[in-house]
């Protein structure tokens, strides 16, 4: 009997990455800009999708996929806001993976869509590790969660293109400091763009819309004078 070590160098989540590459290719072929929205439960991911439904209505065909461990609540909320939405219930899993997206690519809700908002399971840890084939990840952090979260959960923020700080209408009730939150985010993710807004009051929404607009050419300019 003798022992032998064999060099391998193989990524463990290769299978997910392979499926994600196929999904990305599909999105590219169909001209879909897909955004993977990540954040804590209650940070406002569904509210952001609802508002985006209203902002993009009549400008572009958009759709949403909503991931949760249980219930159809989020998809129902998004549909009520006017955007075709499909719920993906993950059961015991704490994140979406690429195969769950691939499985629903031909769903009628996605037909003709140019913008796809994928609302991940509410969680700051696990969803960050799974590529879904999206064009960009967007992190949503709410004022009530505290401005130190980018430092505590760097993995998610480092993979995100954009940080949305939501619930700024609650700022006066908390010790949350917008500049400190942005600085913490840039400390772990120097590339990250930051937009502060309130899905409830609508303040700051134009920053989010502008971010989408630069990536989805079909979104015609909106009147921001209001």
């Amino acid at each position: 009997m003798s022992m032998k070590r064999i060099e391998v160098q193989k990524k463990v989540l290769t299978k997910n990455d392979e499926i994600a590459a196929r999904v990305r290719e599909q999105f590219h072929e169909r001209g879909i800009f897909a955004v993977n929205i990540l954040g804590s439960p209650g940070s406002g991911k569904t509210s952001l999708v609802e508002l985006t439904a209203k902002l993009t209505a009549r400008r572009i065909r958009a759709a949403a996929l909503s991931g949760d461990q249980a219930t159809e609540n989020d998809a129902a909320r998004i549909r009520a806001a006017g955007m075709p939405a499909l719920q993906i219930t993950t059961g015991n899993e704490c994140h979406l993976n690429a195969s769950r997206i691939e499985n629903v690519l031909d769903a009628p809700e996605l037909a003709g869509a140019r913008l796809l908002l994928i609302e991940n399971v509410g969680n700051l840890i696990c969803p960050a590790a799974y590529d879904l084939g999206e064009a960009a990840k967007v992190a949503v952090l709410s004022v009530a969660e505290g401005d130190d979260k980018p430092l505590k959960y760097p993995g998610l923020f480092q993979r995100a293109e954009l940080l949305i700080i939501n619930k700024i209408d609650m700022l006066s009730l908390t010790d949350f400091d917008l500049e400190r939150a942005a600085a913490h985010a840039r400390e772990v993710a120097p590339h990250i763009e930051v937009v502060s807004l309130s899905c409830r009051s609508g303040e700051g929404l134009s920053g989010w819309y502008r971010w989408l607009e630069t990536r989805v050419p079909e979104l015609s300019p909106i009147d921001r004078s209001a």
Binding site: M1, S2, M3, K4, R5, I6, E7, V8, Q9, K10, K11, V12, L13, T14, K15, N16, E93, C94, H95, N97, N123, I125, C126, A128, A129, D131, P154, G155, Q158, R159, E187, V188, A189, P190, H191
Partner: protein, 115 residues
């Protein structure tokens, strides 16, 4: 929290590897892991042991090797390994190096026992 699904991916891969290498017996798997992999080695080990119990992979050991996350400069392509995140490329000075997709969690090697 999602270690079980990662353990399942590892199990699928290891099973194929063990069958390819037979009659040599798979003894251990060496995994390299950076601080951004969002994985807890103990939870991963627990999941892997649960999945492999009573299987042909029963007793296969997982060894973890910590590594630094890798960043890549978007301008010159330089690979940067620093903690905390680098603010600029150390070669060309361009701002905002990005986290490299290859970063995070991988099998480095396996150990097999010759019959």
């Amino acid at each position: 929290m999602h270690e079980l699904s990662v353990a399942a991916a590892l199990y699928d891969w290891a099973l194929g590897e063990a069958r390819t290498r037979a009659p040599k017996r798979l003894v251990s798997i060496e995994l390299e892991q950076d601080s951004l992999s969002c994985l807890n080695p103990d939870a991963l080990r627990f999941g892997f042991e649960a999945l492999t119990a009573d299987s042909e992979l029963s007793g296969v050991r997982l060894d973890f090797v910590p590594i630094e996350p890798t960043y890549r400069c978007g301008v010159c392509g330089e690979s940067l390994e620093t903690e905390p995140a680098p603010l600029a490329c150390s070669r060309c000075g361009s701002p905002m190096p990005r986290l490299s997709r290859e970063s995070s969690f991988a099998v480095r090697s396996i150990e097999v026992e010759q019959p």
